[in-house]
Protein backbone atom coordinates (compact mmCIF):
# COMPACT_ATOMS: atom_id res chain seq x y z
CA UNK A 1 0.00 0.00 0.00
CA UNK A 2 1.42 3.40 -0.96
CA UNK A 3 1.18 6.51 1.19
CA UNK A 4 0.47 10.00 -0.07
CA UNK A 5 2.23 12.49 2.19
CA UNK A 6 0.84 16.01 2.18
CA UNK A 7 -0.34 18.68 4.59
CA UNK A 8 -3.23 20.15 2.60
CA UNK A 9 -5.86 18.85 0.22
CA UNK A 10 -7.47 21.57 -1.85
CA UNK A 11 -9.61 21.69 -4.96
CA UNK A 12 -7.98 23.84 -7.70
CA UNK A 13 -10.90 26.21 -7.77
CA UNK A 14 -11.29 26.47 -3.99
CA UNK A 15 -9.99 29.41 -2.02
CA UNK A 16 -8.67 27.31 0.85
CA UNK A 17 -7.82 23.66 1.63
CA UNK A 18 -10.68 21.31 2.33
CA UNK A 19 -8.48 19.15 4.57
CA UNK A 20 -5.47 20.30 6.61
CA UNK A 21 -3.24 17.75 8.32
CA UNK A 22 -1.10 18.78 11.28
CA UNK A 23 2.25 17.28 12.28
CA UNK A 24 0.55 14.73 14.53
CA UNK A 25 -1.64 13.47 11.73
CA UNK A 26 -4.83 15.11 12.97
CA UNK A 27 -7.09 16.34 10.21
CA UNK A 28 -9.11 19.53 10.19
CA UNK A 29 -11.85 19.26 7.61
CA UNK A 30 -13.43 22.51 6.43
CA UNK A 31 -17.15 22.52 6.83
CA UNK A 32 -17.21 19.85 9.49
CA UNK A 33 -19.47 20.66 12.42
CA UNK A 34 -17.03 19.68 15.15
CA UNK A 35 -13.38 20.69 14.84
CA UNK A 36 -10.81 19.26 17.19
CA UNK A 37 -8.73 21.92 18.99
CA UNK A 38 -6.84 20.15 21.74
CA UNK A 39 -6.63 16.92 23.71
CA UNK A 40 -4.73 16.85 27.00
CA UNK A 41 -3.78 13.70 28.85
CA UNK A 42 -4.01 14.01 32.63
CA UNK A 43 -1.60 11.90 34.63
CA UNK A 44 -1.03 13.57 37.98
CA UNK A 45 -2.21 17.18 38.08
CA UNK A 46 -5.28 18.25 40.01
CA UNK A 47 -6.20 20.96 37.54
CA UNK A 48 -5.87 21.53 33.83
CA UNK A 49 -5.71 25.03 32.40
CA UNK A 50 -6.11 25.42 28.66
CA UNK A 51 -5.12 28.74 27.10
CA UNK A 52 -5.80 30.01 23.58
CA UNK A 53 -8.60 27.53 22.94
CA UNK A 54 -11.43 30.06 22.65
CA UNK A 55 -10.83 32.28 19.65
CA UNK A 56 -12.83 34.18 17.08
CA UNK A 57 -12.74 31.07 14.86
CA UNK A 58 -15.75 29.52 16.60
CA UNK A 59 -18.66 30.90 18.55
CA UNK A 60 -19.40 27.79 20.64
CA UNK A 61 -17.24 24.97 22.03
CA UNK A 62 -17.52 21.44 23.33
CA UNK A 63 -15.39 20.15 26.21
CA UNK A 64 -15.33 16.40 26.84
CA UNK A 65 -13.46 14.66 29.62
CA UNK A 66 -13.23 11.33 31.36
CA UNK A 67 -11.44 11.00 34.68
CA UNK A 68 -10.59 8.18 37.01
CA UNK A 69 -10.26 9.73 40.45
CA UNK A 70 -8.66 8.34 43.57
CA UNK A 71 -11.37 10.03 45.60
CA UNK A 72 -14.26 12.37 44.99
CA UNK A 73 -13.29 14.40 41.96
CA UNK A 74 -15.67 17.34 42.41
CA UNK A 75 -14.71 18.97 39.12
CA UNK A 76 -15.25 22.70 38.81
CA UNK A 77 -14.78 24.92 35.79
CA UNK A 78 -13.51 28.50 35.59
CA UNK A 79 -13.09 30.78 32.64
CA UNK A 80 -9.66 32.17 31.91
CA UNK A 81 -8.14 35.16 30.18
CA UNK A 82 -4.49 35.73 29.25
CA UNK A 83 -3.29 32.95 31.51
CA UNK A 84 -5.27 33.93 34.60
CA UNK A 85 -8.37 32.30 36.04
CA UNK A 86 -11.42 34.46 36.59
CA UNK A 87 -12.18 33.83 40.27
CA UNK A 88 -14.72 36.62 40.72
CA UNK A 89 -18.09 35.72 42.20
CA UNK A 90 -19.78 35.92 38.82
CA UNK A 91 -20.76 32.32 38.09
CA UNK A 92 -24.46 31.49 38.34
CA UNK A 93 -25.86 28.01 37.99
CA UNK A 94 -29.03 25.97 38.11
CA UNK A 95 -28.63 22.24 38.47
CA UNK A 96 -30.34 18.89 38.92
CA UNK A 97 -28.60 16.13 40.84
CA UNK A 98 -29.77 12.57 40.86
CA UNK A 99 -28.59 9.41 42.57
CA UNK A 100 -30.59 6.22 42.91
CA UNK A 101 -34.24 7.36 42.94
CA UNK A 102 -33.56 10.72 44.55
CA UNK A 103 -33.54 13.91 42.53
CA UNK A 104 -32.51 17.25 43.97
CA UNK A 105 -32.70 20.55 42.14
CA UNK A 106 -30.87 23.66 43.21
CA UNK A 107 -29.42 27.00 42.27
CA UNK A 108 -26.28 28.70 43.44
CA UNK A 109 -25.48 32.15 42.20
CA UNK A 110 -22.50 34.48 42.53
CA UNK A 111 -20.11 31.55 42.82
CA UNK A 112 -16.40 31.60 41.99
CA UNK A 113 -16.71 28.68 39.58
CA UNK A 114 -19.27 26.38 38.00
CA UNK A 115 -19.75 22.99 39.62
CA UNK A 116 -19.61 20.21 37.08
CA UNK A 117 -19.51 17.16 39.32
CA UNK A 118 -22.36 14.79 39.88
CA UNK A 119 -22.79 13.45 43.40
CA UNK A 120 -20.95 11.48 45.99
CA UNK A 121 -17.70 9.59 46.11
CA UNK A 122 -17.50 8.01 42.68
CA UNK A 123 -14.44 6.78 40.89
CA UNK A 124 -15.34 7.47 37.29
CA UNK A 125 -16.33 10.94 36.19
CA UNK A 126 -17.35 11.94 32.69
CA UNK A 127 -18.70 15.18 31.32
CA UNK A 128 -19.78 16.86 28.13
CA UNK A 129 -19.79 20.62 28.48
CA UNK A 130 -21.03 23.10 25.92
CA UNK A 131 -19.58 26.59 26.28
CA UNK A 132 -21.42 29.30 24.41
CA UNK A 133 -19.74 32.43 23.00
CA UNK A 134 -16.83 32.54 25.48
CA UNK A 135 -14.70 34.65 23.15
CA UNK A 136 -17.34 37.33 22.67
CA UNK A 137 -17.53 40.39 24.91
CA UNK A 138 -20.81 39.11 26.30
CA UNK A 139 -21.84 36.86 29.18
CA UNK A 140 -20.59 33.30 28.64
CA UNK A 141 -23.14 30.52 28.91
CA UNK A 142 -22.71 26.86 29.87
CA UNK A 143 -24.70 23.67 29.53
CA UNK A 144 -23.09 20.63 31.13
CA UNK A 145 -24.00 17.04 31.71
CA UNK A 146 -21.85 15.02 34.09
CA UNK A 147 -22.02 11.44 35.20
CA UNK A 148 -20.20 9.63 37.96
CA UNK A 149 -20.02 5.87 38.19
CA UNK A 150 -18.79 3.47 40.81
CA UNK A 151 -17.74 0.08 39.52
CA UNK A 152 -17.75 -1.34 43.04
CA UNK A 153 -21.49 -1.83 43.06
CA UNK A 154 -22.34 1.54 44.54
CA UNK A 155 -24.91 3.79 43.00
CA UNK A 156 -24.03 6.15 40.20
CA UNK A 157 -25.00 9.77 39.96
CA UNK A 158 -25.45 12.50 37.42
CA UNK A 159 -25.76 16.22 37.28
CA UNK A 160 -27.09 18.61 34.67
CA UNK A 161 -25.97 22.20 34.98
CA UNK A 162 -27.07 25.36 33.23
CA UNK A 163 -24.69 28.19 33.92
CA UNK A 164 -23.92 31.76 33.05
CA UNK A 165 -21.08 34.14 33.74
CA UNK A 166 -22.17 37.66 34.49
CA UNK A 167 -19.29 39.62 33.03
CA UNK A 168 -19.23 40.73 29.40
CA UNK A 169 -15.66 39.51 29.06
CA UNK A 170 -13.96 37.83 26.13
CA UNK A 171 -12.27 34.70 27.52
CA UNK A 172 -9.63 32.63 25.75
CA UNK A 173 -9.37 29.57 28.00
CA UNK A 174 -10.60 27.71 31.04
CA UNK A 175 -9.48 25.65 34.02
CA UNK A 176 -11.03 22.40 35.14
CA UNK A 177 -10.02 21.58 38.72
CA UNK A 178 -10.56 18.24 40.42
CA UNK A 179 -9.01 15.93 42.96
CA UNK A 180 -6.17 13.69 41.91
CA UNK A 181 -7.18 11.88 38.77
CA UNK A 182 -6.01 10.45 35.50
CA UNK A 183 -7.81 10.78 32.21
CA UNK A 184 -8.26 12.79 29.08
CA UNK A 185 -9.78 16.16 28.26
CA UNK A 186 -10.60 17.36 24.75
CA UNK A 187 -11.87 20.63 23.32
CA UNK A 188 -13.71 21.06 20.04
CA UNK A 189 -15.07 24.05 18.21
CA UNK A 190 -18.48 24.06 16.57
CA UNK A 191 -17.79 25.09 13.02
CA UNK A 192 -20.38 26.79 10.88
CA UNK A 193 -18.58 25.41 7.84
CA UNK A 194 -17.19 28.77 6.83
Amino acid sequence: MSTLKTANLQHPSAASPAIVLDADGNATVAGMGLVHINTTTITSATAVSLDSVFTSSYRNYLIVYDLVASTTANPTLRLRLSGTDNTASEYDQQYILSSSSTVVAGASNAQTSWGIAAVGDRLYTTATIDIFRPNLAAPTLLQASSGQSNINGGSSGNRTTTGSHRASTSFDGFTVAFSTATGSLSVYGYSNGA
Partner: protein
Amino acid sequence: MGHDMIDTILIVNAATGETVERERTAEEQAQREADIAAAVAAEEEYAAALAAEMQAKKDAIEHAKSLGFTDEMINVMYPNLT
Protein backbone atom coordinates in the same frame (compact mmCIF):
# COMPACT_ATOMS: atom_id res chain seq x y z
CA MET B 1 -8.91 21.93 54.91
CA GLY B 2 -5.30 21.56 55.99
CA HIS B 3 -3.95 19.83 52.93
CA ASP B 4 -0.26 19.10 53.34
CA MET B 5 0.41 18.28 49.72
CA ILE B 6 0.67 21.11 47.22
CA ASP B 7 -1.39 20.27 44.16
CA THR B 8 -0.10 20.83 40.68
CA ILE B 9 -1.66 22.55 37.69
CA LEU B 10 -1.13 21.42 34.12
CA ILE B 11 -1.17 24.47 31.83
CA VAL B 12 -1.48 23.92 28.10
CA ASN B 13 -1.31 26.61 25.44
CA ALA B 14 -3.35 25.22 22.57
CA ALA B 15 -1.91 27.76 20.13
CA THR B 16 1.78 27.07 20.76
CA GLY B 17 1.64 23.56 22.18
CA GLU B 18 3.63 24.69 25.22
CA THR B 19 2.88 22.59 28.30
CA VAL B 20 3.87 23.47 31.85
CA GLU B 21 3.09 21.59 35.04
CA ARG B 22 3.76 23.56 38.18
CA GLU B 23 2.76 23.72 41.81
CA ARG B 24 -0.12 25.96 42.74
CA THR B 25 0.73 29.32 44.19
CA ALA B 26 -0.35 29.93 47.78
CA GLU B 27 -3.25 32.00 46.48
CA GLU B 28 -4.30 29.28 44.05
CA GLN B 29 -3.99 26.64 46.76
CA ALA B 30 -6.19 28.70 49.09
CA GLN B 31 -8.75 29.08 46.32
CA ARG B 32 -8.68 25.36 45.62
CA GLU B 33 -9.22 24.54 49.28
CA ALA B 34 -12.13 27.00 49.36
CA ASP B 35 -13.54 25.23 46.29
CA ILE B 36 -13.22 21.86 47.99
CA ALA B 37 -14.91 23.23 51.11
CA ALA B 38 -17.77 24.52 48.98
CA ALA B 39 -18.03 21.15 47.20
CA VAL B 40 -18.07 19.32 50.52
CA ALA B 41 -20.80 21.67 51.76
CA ALA B 42 -22.81 20.92 48.63
CA GLU B 43 -22.30 17.21 49.16
CA GLU B 44 -23.46 17.53 52.76
CA GLU B 45 -26.51 19.48 51.65
CA TYR B 46 -27.30 16.77 49.15
CA ALA B 47 -26.74 14.02 51.75
CA ALA B 48 -29.06 15.83 54.16
CA ALA B 49 -31.75 16.09 51.48
CA LEU B 50 -31.32 12.40 50.71
CA ALA B 51 -31.53 11.45 54.39
CA ALA B 52 -34.65 13.59 54.84
CA GLU B 53 -36.32 11.90 51.90
CA MET B 54 -35.42 8.43 53.17
CA GLN B 55 -36.77 9.31 56.62
CA ALA B 56 -39.98 10.65 55.07
CA LYS B 57 -40.44 7.38 53.18
CA LYS B 58 -39.78 5.38 56.33
CA ASP B 59 -42.29 7.47 58.28
CA ALA B 60 -44.90 7.06 55.55
CA ILE B 61 -44.48 3.28 55.52
CA GLU B 62 -44.71 3.05 59.30
CA HIS B 63 -47.83 5.21 59.28
CA ALA B 64 -49.44 3.06 56.58
CA LYS B 65 -48.64 -0.09 58.55
CA SER B 66 -50.15 1.46 61.68
CA LEU B 67 -53.40 1.74 59.69
CA GLY B 68 -53.28 -1.96 58.88
CA PHE B 69 -51.71 -1.94 55.40
CA THR B 70 -49.22 -4.69 54.55
CA ASP B 71 -45.95 -4.26 52.64
CA GLU B 72 -47.60 -5.78 49.55
CA MET B 73 -50.50 -3.36 49.71
CA ILE B 74 -48.22 -0.38 50.23
CA ASN B 75 -46.08 -1.46 47.29
CA VAL B 76 -49.13 -1.72 45.04
CA MET B 77 -50.46 1.68 46.09
CA TYR B 78 -47.11 3.48 46.17
CA PRO B 79 -44.57 1.53 44.11
CA ASN B 80 -41.87 4.17 44.51
CA LEU B 81 -42.19 4.32 48.27
CA THR B 82 -40.47 1.03 49.14
